[in-house]
């Protein structure tokens, strides 16, 4: 997918001015975060499960070569075929070849973030196939030709009217005067349309939530059941998964599953969790004849060897996104690529280059809620700070900001001088702003005062107040 992450500032401004988006985002805090909290409260072992899940993934990453080879051997043993691809281009070429070999026309797809990373739909369309997304949210955004705005709720930025509009534009064979006012009517329509796609599909493309080394199984988690129809009906199944999706055993998969849905939607478990191993067996009445797994690196080995290895523990639950105040204000599209929120702000620069996504690591208040809720205990604020450090070292920070920071750092090294300077500054500002209690404009603080007033200080610094009150460190 083409990135617009470079235009983050403009994207964010546009998002803030988008009334429909703001209505959709306003629904957010009542949804996933509340449900997550209730689910976690019902499970006393949740914190211990997070520790175990983290440990499993750390263990896998330290032995990734072994587990991938083992997974490949098991898939082959059960009649499937594993392909290895280093980057998006290789994966796209292979995918088109496999679809051509299958004589495909209609190709059904279950939601896959790796699919978004490599731009599967565009490349299949260019090759003359008809890819159909089958997750309801993904289907809606496919009709609207836009990327997902959330990794687990791709169409969360849309109103039902916008969905109805997209359906009316796409489903031309249905009567114009049909009622399409309520979500239920839209679901019924999508279910009927997509059922036809399922039944005429020649290749099913899915992602994988996990790959189990012990058995060679792929694990797929959905609430709709679309992944199961995608992988059971067509004669050919192609799974695309990035290499860090491995877990060792079925027991380890169970542990990750216990934290996944709770962190994502606040369900104890998603409706369908399916462990699929190889193609149709003799005697089976359904299932594909051919079973392919594409293992994709696409930047993972680079992260494995660097400072961002911990990000590879991510299981794409979306908890950090759901709890991020910045995401809550601007939604997912502003981030400009496949991912968004705190995980996106770390992943995007790592996957498409720091130069391409300079603003993203800075689009965070570092409030720390993301780390608090991450089931895999990924230290997202620390990783964001690391990216900021790298930008500073690489000279990517604007000169004014650089010099400002340098002067501040010098000053801070001399506490007495620092107290004197800040004391004088705050006293002056306090006097100047005494009458109104706020400033409408302030030199060097346009970033703040363009959008809101700056409250005037009360005349004393915190340190002055602290010593006057004879504060004691607790």
């Amino acid at each position: 997918m083409q990135s617009t992450a470079r235009a983050f500032t403009a994207n964010a401004r546009q998002a803030l001015d988008d009334a429909k988006l703001q209505v959709a985002l306003a629904r957010f805090p009542e949804g996933f975060p509340v449900k997550r909290r209730l689910a976690v409260e019902r499970l006393p072992e949740f914190e211990a499960l997070r520790d175990d899940a983290k440990e499993i993934k750390d263990h896998v990453l330290a032995h990734l070569d072994y587990y991938l080879e083992r997974f490949e051997a098991k898939v082959a043993e059960r009649g499937g075929q594993v392909h290895w691809c280093s980057d998006a281009e290789e994966a796209r070429t292979l995918l088109v070849k496999l679809c051509r070999d299958a004589g495909a026309t209609t190709i059904t797809k279950a939601k896959s973030m790796i699919g978004e990373e490599i731009g599967v739909n565009d490349c299949l369309e260019e090759a003359g196939f008809k890819p159909v997304e089958t997750d309801l949210g993904e289907y809606i955004i496919q009709l609207r030709h836009e990327p997902p705005s959330h990794i687990i709720a791709p169409a969360v930025h849309l109103s039902k009217d916008q969905v109805a509009e997209a359906f009316r534009a796409a489903h031309k064979d249905l009567p114009d005067d049909r009622p399409l006012n309520e979500p239920q009517e839209m679901l019924d329509e999508a279910r009927a349309v997509l059922r036809r796609a399922f039944l005429s599909s020649s290749v099913g493309i899915t992602g994988a939530n996990m790959l189990v080394a012990e058995t060679g199984s792929i694990v797929l988690v959905t609430n709709e059941g679309n992944a199961d129809l995608t992988q059971t009906i067509p004669p050919v199944q192609i799974v695309i998964a990035s290499i860090e999706k491995i877990v060792p055993t079925l027991e380890d998969a169970a542990t990750v599953l216990r934290v996944l849905a709770r962190s994502a939607t606040g369900q104890d478990l998603s409706v369908y969790t399916t462990f699929t191993t190889g193609p149709r067996r003799s005697g089976d009445l359904d299932g594909p004849q051919h079973f392919h797994v594409i293992l994709l690196d696409n930047g993972r080995t680079r992260m494995l060897g660097g400072e961002f290895r911990e990000m590879l523990r991510c299981i794409r639950c979306g908890a950090c996104i759901n709890h991020c105040p910045v995401y809550g204000a601007i939604g997912g599209h502003a981030y400009g690529w496949v991912y968004s929120g705190p995980m996106g702000a770390v992943l995007i620069p790592n996957l498409i280059g720091v130069d391409e996504a300079k603003d993203l690591p800075n689009a965070s208040t570092l409030c720390g809620r993301c780390e608090e809720v991450c089931p895999m205990r990924i230290p997202l604020p620390r990783l964001l700070r690391k990216l900021r450090d790298q930008q500073f070292e690489a000279g990517q920070v604007p000169p004014l900001f650089r010099y400002g920071l340098r002067w501040w750092a010098r000053l801070a090294r001399w506490p007495a001088l620092y107290r004197l300077a800040t004391g004088a500054g705050v006293a002056t500002l306090g006097r100047l702003g005494r009458r109104k209690g706020r400033f409408r404009k302030m030199p060097f603080a346009g970033g703040w005062t363009n959008a809101r007033d700056l409250p005037a200080p009360q005349g004393r610094t915190f340190q002055q107040w602290w010593s006057a009150e004879k504060g004691v460190r607790q």
Binding site: L43, V163, P248, L250, D252, L257, G305
Partner: protein
């Protein structure tokens, strides 16, 4: 030419700052796979009494919009299916899996109920299948694919009735894996598809409004049969 496989594996080893693992290290990992150990297991699914397990299973399944009906014996299966179809104004016709649990069921005795075996057809309105296990911790049903239990029976028809002997209710995911390893195995004999079903299909993709029956069944009805032990 270097294959994608070699390129990825050597990139991983470079990143980890080591070569391929030695035999000792490999043997250790092999042991971890051969003798899988449980991680933390929640207390919710752990209960000494069968009645306690069954009660947890029912409560959890109902929390996620499944309906559960307890039957005294296998003789009640056909009438219960007929009643369910009547209650929801559905045709008295079901597609039935070939599980052993149905071998003595006389479908035609329940009024005009028609039961046909085989894979699901596009216009089937209801299916009846067995389940390998019920997992109490989240009210989950575990179904295995095989010649007698095609996977699409669980997904195509909008109504899914699952017959579960009470003896097949286990406590936790680990218990389910343990039983599968002991009875079926996780090697070459492991079924192609293992499906965990926790309530009927749903979506909240339009304005976060929860709707049932997205692509899979709108209704999931569990017939919990007393006195019957495990179907396997």
């Amino acid at each position: 030419m270097i294959s994608g496989r070699e390129r990825t594996l050597s990139a991983i080893r470079d990143a980890l700052g080591r070569g391929a693992l030695g035999p000792d290290e490999k043997a250790k990992l092999e042991r971890r796979l051969r003798y899988p150990r449980a991680n933390v297991v929640p207390a919710r699914g752990q209960c000494d009494s069968r009645e306690g397990l069954v009660a947890t299973f029912i409560a959890e399944a109902e929390r996620v919009n499944a309906t559960v009906e307890r039957l005294c014996s296998g003789d009640d299966i056909a009438p219960a299916v007929a009643d369910f179809l009547r209650a929801h104004n559905l045709p008295q016709r079901v597609r039935v899996a070939g599980d052993a649990v149905f071998k003595d069921v006389r479908w035609s005795d329940a009024g005009g109920l028609e039961a046909e075996a085989g894979p699901a057809a596009a216009d089937d309105s209801a299916s009846v299948t067995g389940a390998y296990a019920g997992i109490a911790e989240t009210g989950t049903l575990m179904l295995l694919s095989g010649p007698d239990s095609p996977t699409l029976l669980n997904f195509l028809p909008p109504n899914h009735i699952i017959v579960l002997p009470e003896g097949s209710v286990v406590g936790t995911y680990e218990d389910a894996w343990h039983r599968l390893r002991a009875e079926v195995g996780t090697g070459i004999a492991m079924p192609r598809v293992i499906t965990w079903i926790t309530g009927p299909s749903r979506t909240a993709d339009i304005e976060q409004t929860l709707l049932l029956g997205a692509h899979g069944p709108r209704r999931l009805h569990v017939l919990l049969v007393d006195g019957a032990t495990s179907a396997a």
